[in-house]
């Protein structure tokens, strides 16, 4: 099958900016994008630059953008990709500095991984709870499968606009150690993730879950870190207050009270109150702020919702 590959090329010594070049190539049945790239390099353009090593979706070297989505070239077949998109367009990972053609600098990625201290600070053998060891792998929630390819960081919509964010790969790694029954420094780990760039900066867009070639589900790991933070009493960040206020309002009214919610999240932070006030007034004038203190704010049938909250609280007491 004759296919045209549109590949982003960029040589920093010659090109003012990246551009796309078309390559026509015969692709065999079942051929992967990586195999096609290797043939192109051998037969058509020796300057074409990309990273790869294992060719088996284990090393994580060949992550790139294929038809707009972050994928491993070695794990992506040409034909289904062509059927899905009608074309083959290949570029480097976004959000990371471009070096040449399809190769990006991974240094910012490694800095984030290092920042979460990706090593065990072990308890002594006697301190480890053997009961927890039995479920240890389940508790990781598959984060141990991460091959550090960078696809999630390239797809992260927060990292795109805020480079101080630790990002999905590093935070998934943070959960790997926070969930380890042999780890001694869990409270310190959680505390370090509360500030700017930490777990409360994730917008839950699900991109990392969608693109991960190993089903690591970094966003789920971030949620697990948030839940663990709340359970260990780290409840004063605005992010954690967003969560607890939301649940609190639903437990009383059944529906979100959009007038009350900002006040509960912001609390007594006067500066933040002044920040949201002007927009609040404009929204009010447009009829977009529901009155926060209604006499009967609850939805009809609230009794049932309260009963569900009560049943759940009871279940948690019986089986924490």
């Amino acid at each position: 099958m004759r296919v045209t590959f549109h590949i982003q090329k960029y040589n920093p010594e010659k090109d003012p900016k990246p551009h796309e070049e078309p390559y026509r190539i015969d692709v065999g049945h079942g051929s992967t994008v990586l195999e096609a790239l290797m043939r192109l390099k051998n037969e058509a353009d020796g300057t074409l630059t990309f990273r790869y090593a294992c060719r088996s979706a284990i090393c994580g070297s060949c992550a790139m953008e294929i038809n707009g989505t972050e994928k491993l070239a070695c794990k992506t077949q040409v034909r289904p990709e062509l059927e899905r998109h009608g074309e083959i367009r290949i570029g480097p990972l976004k959000n990371l500095p471009l070096i040449k053609d399809l190769v990006v600098a991974m240094d910012p990625f490694w800095e984030k991984i290092h920042s979460i201290r990706p090593w065990l600070e072990p308890l002594s053998h006697e301190q480890v709870d053997p009961a927890r060891m039995r479920d240890a792998f389940t508790a990781f929630n598959n984060v141990e499968a991460c091959i550090l390819c960078g696809a999630c960081v390239a797809a992260c919509t927060v990292y795109e606009v805020e480079k101080s964010f630790a990002g999905p790969a590093a935070l998934a790694k943070a959960w790997r150690f926070a969930a380890d029954p042999r780890e001694a420094a869990v409270p310190e780990r959680l505390r370090r993730l509360q500030g700017d760039g930490g777990i409360w900066d994730c917008t839950r867009c699900n991109y990392c879950v969608e693109v991960c070639p190993k089903d690591v589900k970094p966003m789920e790991a971030i949620i697990l870190l948030r839940r663990a933070s709340l359970q260990s009493g780290l409840t004063q960040t605005m992010g954690s207050r967003h969560l607890t206020s939301f649940v609190d309002i639903i437990s009383h009214e059944g529906r979100l009270n959009e007038g009350l919610m900002p006040m509960k999240v912001i609390g007594f932070r006067f500066k933040d109150f002044l920040r949201i006030l002007p927009l609040g007034i404009r929204m009010f004038l447009k009829g977009k702020v529901p009155f926060p203190f209604k006499v009967k704010p609850a939805i009809p049938g609230m009794k049932q919702v309260r009963a569900i909250f009560a049943a759940r609280a009871q279940a948690k007491r019986e089986k924490p």
Binding site: E210, G287, V305
Partner: protein, 293 residues
């Protein structure tokens, strides 16, 4: 065609114009809706962060209500669709989960049997009613408008729980925009995040996303943007002014709820569709299709 209408919180709170325009458009399309006044908040993906079983139980109660009516659920919020679609999928497919959750509903005599479908208005129009039927209701074709589709996260991802549009290359909004005779604008931001979940606590990130996405749409000469999610609408509309300051560029891009855009093409008046409730003025678009606000 009859559906149990799950409005979600926003359409009953900060975005009454979404509810208003939904009622007009569904009626015109011949969709009969029964509003689920007793339904609680879906949890917006927030309750599940604190307690997944609690979030599932609250949604299972909503599903049981629709089941008792013998109706499938229509959502009009992308976030509700994502959260409820995922909850429903998990309840139907994960072994033992439905029984465990029904255990939490039992004290009130509620039981969900897994027989309800949850569908967004967008999916109902594109998938069930059909675009030909929609075209038949267009009395004021939006011919000279370039409309940027903005899907919002939860109607696309995680796709294994949703499965209407291809998350890598969704087409339903584009098809719908074309059916209204407008021109769909292609830009990268169409599948990205609006930033709404962070807007209270991390405003710079949230408005950074607004700025980046809307700038792309403007560069592709969009006259307006349409979204099936009211939370996206809030962030892209209410915070647009602040995003303009952050990126140092004027955007002035009107943001429409899905049924508002459809309603314009059906000939409804701007006031009926609640266009005057937006913070970013919509006159430019309305004038382009010869209407007065």
């Amino acid at each position: 065609m009859r559906y149990a209408l799950y409005t979600g919180c926003a359409a009953k709170g900060a975005c009454p114009e979404l509810f208003q325009s939904t009622m007009l458009v569904t009626k015109r399309l011949g969709i009969e809706v029964v509003e689920m006044l007793n339904a609680a908040c879906c949890g917006a993906g927030v309750i599940t962060e604190a307690d997944p079983d609690l979030a599932l139980a609250i949604n299972a109660r909503t599903f049981a209500q629709a089941e008792a009516l013998g109706l499938d659920i229509m959502t009009i919020c992308g976030t509700c669709q994502g959260v409820m679609g995922m909850a429903n999928h998990r309840l139907k497919t994960e072994e033992g989960l439905l029984d465990r959750i029904n255990g939490l509903l039992a004290p009130e005599g509620i039981r969900y049997n897994g027989r309800v479908e949850v569908k967004h208005l967008l999916w109902i129009i594109v998938g069930d009613i059909g675009l030909d039927t929609l075209r038949g209701h267009v009395t004021r074709p939006l011919e000279n408008l370039r409309i940027a589709p903005f899907y919002g996260c939860y109607i696309l991802r995680p796709s294994k729980y949703l499965g209407f549009d291809d998350p890598e290359n969704p087409v339903s909004l584009e098809k719908l925009i074309s059916a209204l005779s407008a021109h769909p604008v292609d830009y990268e931001g169409r599948t990205k995040c609006c930033g709404f979940p962070l807007v209270l606590e991390k405003e710079p990130i949230a408005i950074g996303m607004v700025g980046a996405n809307l700038k792309e749409a403007k560069e592709e000469l969009a006259d307006a943007l349409v979204t099936p999610c009211p939370l996206c609408h809030m962030n892209l509309d209410i915070y647009q002014g602040r995003a303009e300051k952050k990126i140092g560029e004027k955007l002035a891009l009107p943001i429409f709820h899905l049924p508002q855009l459809i309603g314009l093409a059906m000939g409804f008046q701007a006031k009926e569709l609640g266009l005057s409730r937006h913070l970013v003025p919509t006159q430019s678009v309305v004038e382009k299709i010869q209407l007065k606000v």
